[in-house]
Symmetry: C2
Subunit: 498 residues, 2 copies
Amino acid sequence: MASVLRSSTKLRAAARVPAVRALSTTTRLRAAEKPFFPNEPSAPSVQTAIPGPKSKAAADDLNEVFDVRSLNMLADYSQSVGNYIADLDGNKLLDVYAQIASIPVGYNNPHLKEATQSPEMINALINRPALGNFPSADWANILRTGVLKAAPKGMNQVFTAMAGSDANETAYKAAFMYYRQLQRGGPEVEFTEEELQSTMNNEGPGSPQLSILSFKSAFHGRLFGSLSTTRSKAIHKIDIPAFDWPQASFPSLKYPLEDHVQENAAEEKRCLEEVERLIKEFHNPVAAVMVEPIQSEGGDNHASPAFFQGLREITKRTNVLFIVDEVQTGIGATGKFWAHDHWNLQTPPDMVTFSKKAQTAGYYFGNPALRPNKPYRQFNTWMGDPARALIYRGIIEEVERLGLVEHTRITGEYLYSGLERLAQKYPDHFQNLRGKGQGTFIAWDTPHRDQFLAKAKSVGVNIGGSGAAAVRLRPMLVFQKHHADILLESIEKIIKLL
Amino acid sequence: MASVLRSSTKLRAAARVPAVRALSTTTRLRAAEKPFFPNEPSAPSVQTAIPGPKSKAAADDLNEVFDVRSLNMLADYSQSVGNYIADLDGNKLLDVYAQIASIPVGYNNPHLKEATQSPEMINALINRPALGNFPSADWANILRTGVLKAAPKGMNQVFTAMAGSDANETAYKAAFMYYRQLQRGGPEVEFTEEELQSTMNNEGPGSPQLSILSFKSAFHGRLFGSLSTTRSKAIHKIDIPAFDWPQASFPSLKYPLEDHVQENAAEEKRCLEEVERLIKEFHNPVAAVMVEPIQSEGGDNHASPAFFQGLREITKRTNVLFIVDEVQTGIGATGKFWAHDHWNLQTPPDMVTFSKKAQTAGYYFGNPALRPNKPYRQFNTWMGDPARALIYRGIIEEVERLGLVEHTRITGEYLYSGLERLAQKYPDHFQNLRGKGQGTFIAWDTPHRDQFLAKAKSVGVNIGGSGAAAVRLRPMLVFQKHHADILLESIEKIIKLL
């Protein structure tokens, strides 16, 4: 099943979507693709300054009960459709940020709406089980027809979670248990009395000083364990106690890649050597290496397949687990269902974590030894949410039905070419354009990034940033060539406004 | 609004529930209360050994993709109703464990079912917002008519989360930020360059070695920060790195309380002195004290209102935050909406965390200074789930409509009296009966606890344990006197089987 998702090369979308309804006379639909959402606006519409008066009043009201200082815009989801997000003042923006890369198949997707009406969904919403103790009889089926259908190659198990942070942390816990099990000599070796007693005091040997190795600029979440592996920005970390865990350099590649082949290879070699040195020498032994296929919050930092192959080789050789954080890269955006499918690894990662576009979360694995050796070691009351697992199933069905992975690969190529043209025309505004061959997972640096993002709304697009200087594009999987045309035009307009 | 929930003294249920449908001739409905669920079975029915053949086959199947070693029973929720949980083999058990204390208003509650069909719910399910950036325009209203309507006295703010663990951890993060802000001299004092740099290396002063003080036997969750405050059982903690944080003794009271007044008061005084000593002397300064009103996973350990008043007084005096973990005790089960309502505190706790029966999670607070001083310090992609917030709203409505808090107080008294009678009759099987005046939040110790729980299913009840020796009762809020009668009869049957 999963192979269907990964190897689909046919674009089956056009034949199945409903006929296009009375299109406006806009010239923007140059690219001859039928819209996935026939009721989508044909172009953004900006009616007021953004935020407009209604949005401002609503934000003031919300502020009474909820911190709104990170508010980007208050949305009217009932009026949002496909790639367009609406606000209270009648503005409709082309959304290439998509809830921080977490909406895959469009606002008010009719297939997902259908999924909300099923008896299974109602059951999951009102009879929420403690999945570890009292799973519903259809839980195996929900997993097989959904979460596990999309499992990465070599993985047939899942531990379900609630969001990216706890998906990552439960994967870390599995890694620590596995590491200690190897040290002890196997799953049947009992804990010592000293271990059992010391762990109650948060002390070794029961609570060992082991570590997870992550990379500089990495983002893996904001709870205490995941935040200890996050190295994106000080504001994410300051004042919060952290574990003494190691960080390796992530490759800092030079662009365009084709002009810096040897330099970049040397940089990746340097980083790999640093990883190996830290694994061998760091004072708190490393149980696992955690890495994003593309560092996302940290600034859209890419590395080559060779780098990740190197990581897999080092971790195999040093008996350290290799965990891939696909929270932001997973579910099709890079033109493969999983971004690590680009790497052609000889053996799969040990664990792959997911969230965001899956609308639920967890970690996949294949090796049965990664199930802890006793029950109740990896456990919590809910262990995920079947309602959200059903939404993920609907998303997978939609991805398959519309061939959205391959679609995103093709649209990404189209969009990337357009950005290359803009970069030639406006070299001062485009540095380090990156993400070629990575679907729509594209970014570039620009000297006036924050103004760029702020102006975007005035021309009708909602765009996000990452790191200190990057504009990051995170369109949905239903983003089409005619949306790319609008986006490219809008970017040019923003540049002219700066 | 909140006062309605807290001070309701009328039992408005009977008048509003539909007429009782053709009751069976069972004698069990001795207590003259109309059932909240007219279609509930009048008694448990046990058709097969449990697990029966269908359940066994389904568990084997599930085991292929999901760890089932903590499986208690596979449920057929489509056949479950009210207080009764059904399995695949036609067995229907009176459920006084209720998904580890997380189902408040009964399986297949019609009002919740209605809530799943609203346009708001569909919107929340298919257009999931990043709440910190792009909340829906109706988010303030969803909060005010739901989550915040039930806010504890003195609290009008909420930070929403996904489950108990991250609710607690985000509260800890708020506490650390607040503590450092006080140290710095206020919200307007900027971070130093040294802080900003050191935190990127997980080092002080940016990542300070501060701590949360919790209690021996406490349970606050299983992620890395929350697990560092959990001291329930070694199996929950072993092999996982933990922070060097302090633990104080939780009072170990003697029962019956009325026979040990002075001894228990001395014990509580001893524990309070320990708390104060640790706050003053522990090497990693204490930013907050975290406590459960009744230690639940840790064995149903109670303390008096005087003890908690003492904690509030010490934390006020030492400028340490006081966080109350109401994940298991909240939403009515103790005969008050919040268990800490029993304490008559002069000033409210600084934060109160919730999850489980709320079906969503987060922490409440009142002091605006607990909002971090800058945006993006307390943040994540989803920051909760509006779909689950809508379910919480439905639960609150049902609690109000049926007067379930007061109902649970009364039913709890009835149940407790029955248990006292059993305890007199079977003194060898009942030690430390506790929870008097705490609604249905009742427990006792028994020397053959694990066999007791295992046999319970054969007589038609699903019961859980806590700690090493306790039987813990966690009925739903729709548990009625006739259910109590069945439960009491069943307990006697189990004792006779042992």
